[in-house]
Amino acid sequence: MAKSANTDPAEWVDRYGDYLFRYAMLRRRDRSAAEDLVQETFLAALKSRGSFSGNSSESTWLVGILKHKIADHFRRQAREAPLGDGDLREHPDPSPFDGSGHWASGPADWGGNPADLYREKKFLDQLTECLSGLSPSHANAFTLREIEGADTGEICKVLNVTETNLWVILHRARMQLRRCLETRWFGRKTGKEP
């Protein structure tokens, strides 16, 4: 494909602004940080325009740049705030298990739980809130694994943790997020023996 597929950068904001912004918002969960990421992405794209091969679509190319910027942010955050002992404890407080490792209060029945909830803005808001409630290292690991779909080896490099520690972090993040979504969205009845 010839380079003529490129659009005029003056059109980028209208064409791709909202698209990149939503992508950044889901991963950074902060309005002004997401806006800055969009701006930095466009500026980096402007500089490297000559190297855009036209093999991918322009939007894919821009998202690729944005992905790198988000990973850079996670990397920086991991350097500045390394894991503490609290980050590697298996369970959030209070532990959902009793002394013998059985559920003290089990997961509630979520009812029909349709997978097309992802279309609902209100659900997205609750999910974002729940993710923001995790510690930064847990939220970042979860974001890379479940939202970005990165493999664990890659995530270990970005966050500078061992694979064993990453498993603990992801376990804890999933457990906490599940509980948060249950409280804020799904929860109808508390977990009595079903």
Binding site: A10, D18, F21, F97, S100, G106, Y118, L127, E146
Partner: protein, 84 residues
């Protein structure tokens, strides 16, 4: 015999790498008799499914749904690009 606490940890791990056979069997046996842990597994997989769908960026030229860039940010970025 694995406890619920062990099983929840292994269920999460199985979403990140494949467990050794012995552990896999232990988890499956536990799930046969434990409705809470079965429910836990279903819910983790549901959350994964919802998030995966959410994470697929929609077509940029399609209709915009959800969050939009603020007018202020739009303007700032335009100026920045024009001077860049």
């Amino acid at each position: 015999m694995l406890s619920c606490k062990d099983v929840t940890r292994l269920l999460s791990e199985s979403m990140d790498h494949s467990l050794p056979l012995g552990k896999r069997v232990g988890v499956r046996l536990h799930l046969l008799i434990c409705r809470f842990c079965s429910r836990y597994e279903r819910q983790l997989l549901l959350i994964r499914e919802i998030i995966r769908r959410l994470a697929v960026p929609e077509d940029p030229s399609g209709p915009s749904t959800g969050e939009l860039l603020s007018e202020e940010a739009r303007e700032r970025i335009r100026i920045c690009l024009a001077n860049g």
